[in-house]
Symmetry: C2
Subunit: 375 residues, 2 copies
């Protein structure tokens, strides 16, 4: 029915990994791609110019947070989130579903939608699938997500089945509520930890027809092996004609595994949140910058890294800033971690184009066997 905004450029002959492009109102996105999270209309501690410099092609905004503050009507009055926050590249907004469930115990789900309380002032609010789409239309994101219900881990088969069925009915209402704005709408596959239920959910969503498909409800506390199993069992069943998005994932290792299973899009707070906690990603693994072994270390965090932080600052200075709780610590650490994530994706795209993804993956793991220390 609708034309897919996704164009496949090349497919690994070794695994499911693939390179492509997603067309959006704010230009194309090269996939596989990692999307930094800008929950409240700001990627924490980063200017938009910092984001461009680290190579971010698209960022994510959280509908739940923006709906509560500053409100979607305010953002609409600016012509959307892009002008409000001074970001000219694409934006994806989630539907608000995940936050409604994860930020409170008192969310009440009915056929009609989700009742919840504001985490800011306790006021009672209600979000229907139609509301979720209209709010995202006001935000003007390039990619909107259908409202889904989240399934806790663990959940019984019956519980998961009910939530998955409701998600499918909501997905149809979201698609029907959409007006002609040129924004994309992605459907979200639920199904808990039941692979067969997820495969059925994919069929239902494809029957409705979306501009892309996301795997939701993973990385919610289940063992890593289980997530990888479900990924292997489901990702390649998402239509190859459309973009595939693994929501809320994950570690650098998760990104490499996700790409090898054919995933095109990822988002996670990990690079920015860990940056603020002093945990930094390098090609050799993770660095806890407050460790005393870095006290006198004049070397850059990662001598092979070309980011602003590694070009100009030493481990000793980064440690000093972190120990002193200087705001610059959050800025420099966030720049480095997001540069790491975006560069990892660039490396994977290049490896796929040259059909050497498995070699790339092997190198990625081998570099991590040498721990980062002062010598």
């Amino acid at each position: 029915m609708t034309v897919s905004p996704y164009t496949l450029h090349c497919q690994s002959t070794e695994c499911q990994a693939r390179c492509g492009e997603i067309a959006t109102l704010h230009g194309p996105i090269q996939t596989p791609v990692f999307m930094p999270v800008g929950t409240q209309a700001s990627v924490k501690a980063m200017t938009p110019e910092n984001l461009v410099e680290v190579g971010a092609q698209i960022i994510l905004g959280n509908t739940y947070h923006l709906y509560l503050r500053p409100g979607h009507e305010l953002i609409r009055s600016f012509g959307g989130l892009h002008r409000f926050m001074h970001w000219e590249r694409p934006i994806l907004t989630d539907s608000g579903g995940f936050q409604i469930f994860s930020l409170q115990d008192l969310a009440k789900i009915t056929e009609e939608g989700a009742s919840f309380r504001s985490h800011l002032d306790g006021s009672r609010l209600f979000l229907s699938p139609e509301d979720a789409v209209h709010v995202q239309e006001a935000l003007g994101s390039d990619i909107m997500m259908a409202l889904d219900t989240c399934i806790p881990y663990p959940a019984s088969r019956d519980e998961a089945a009910k939530a998955t069925a409701l998600t499918a009915r909501w997905a149809r209402r979201c698609r029907e509520a959409q007006t002609d704005t040129g924004q994309h709408l992605f459907g979200i596959v639920q199904g808990g930890m039941y692979a067969d239920m997820r495969l059925a959910a994919i069929e239902q969503l494809v029957e409705i027809g979306f501009d892309g498909y996301a795997l939701g409800g993973l990385s919610v506390g289940e063992p890593k092996e289980l997530m990888y199993e479900l990924l292997a069992a489901t990702a390649s069943h998402l239509p190859a004609t459309h973009a595939r998005y693994l929501m809320g994932v994950g570690t650098p290792e998760d990104l490499v595994e996700g790409v090898s299973q054919g995933v095109d899009m990822f988002d996670c707070v990990m690079p920015t949140r860990n940056a603020r906690n002093g945990m930094l990603f390098t090609s050799q693994g993770r660095v806890v910058i407050k460790n005393s072994c870095f006290q006198h270390d004049q070397r850059p965090l990662d001598p092979t890294c070309g980011c602003y932080t590694c070009r100009h600052y030493s481990r000793a200075y980064l440690r000093h800033l972190f120990q002193s709780r200087e705001i610059l610590a959050y800025q420099l650490n966030s720049i480095h971690n997001l540069h790491y994530y975006c560069s990892l994706m660039t490396g994977m795209r290049n490896a796929i184009r040259e059909d050497r993804f498995l070699a790339f993956r092997r190198d990625f793991y081998e570099q991590r066997t040498v721990p980062v220390s002062a010598h």
Copy 2:
């Protein structure tokens, strides 16, 4: 004896205001100048590139803080503060005296020096005038300050006289302790709120001979009128051949008044601290960004301002970031406030060069009679 690093370029015919230049190891500084404060080897929420963009010519580091953490020997191992913090323009370091007195009640002053406790771990420490110079030599600042004793407000004449005499003896020891590094050393005029005592202190310091002279112990809680009185009674008695520095001052109004009395250098945490508290400076006066009148305001903070923040962001967005406690709020607000302070100094320098300082000063106050609001 020594050649003054200060060169007078022009003198207002209307008042004491003057333009000049201070030569330093890291290049010349155009005066009058405002120095952003980078207490812990970072001007809070600002990258060095941000500082250059707002027009900062020189920044200040706090010897007390850097001595405690990360330690001057660590900074020496980097060849000084400049390389440690990636700042290539001049740096002035204070002597540590003010912090020793202001951060704790238990500082004990003897002829030999100051005993105090670390505010970080409570350890007992001692700083002599000689130590203060040697620590600053390790930091590699362009302008060092002599160790002074601070006089609380109010203080009896006797109390003030004793502290002022000790400051003079310490000043001589600082000058004698200095080695041949090319760094400048400034003397600090104390004397409490007693103008005659300050004039005598100036004579003593000039007799020792410093590379510049500072007025210390002002803006310590005394009424504003008293500070202006003392300024008028003393600033023009500082040698015209040397740079004059009014320490820890102040508001935009204070800078204008200080310049009109012939002051060349200022430093204050106000622009950065107020930025983090949501108080912003504009040509029309102060703005409290959280005020609800800015909620829907699409205009830049100050439509006449050319800073990064005003070029790209609205009052509504700045309010949203501040209400949401986003780190970007601190970054954007700090950029704006420091740009305001540095531009104010540029405006004053231009006005002095064109010998229209009093007209500039009149305009400065007149613009502030129109309050900043949404309409």
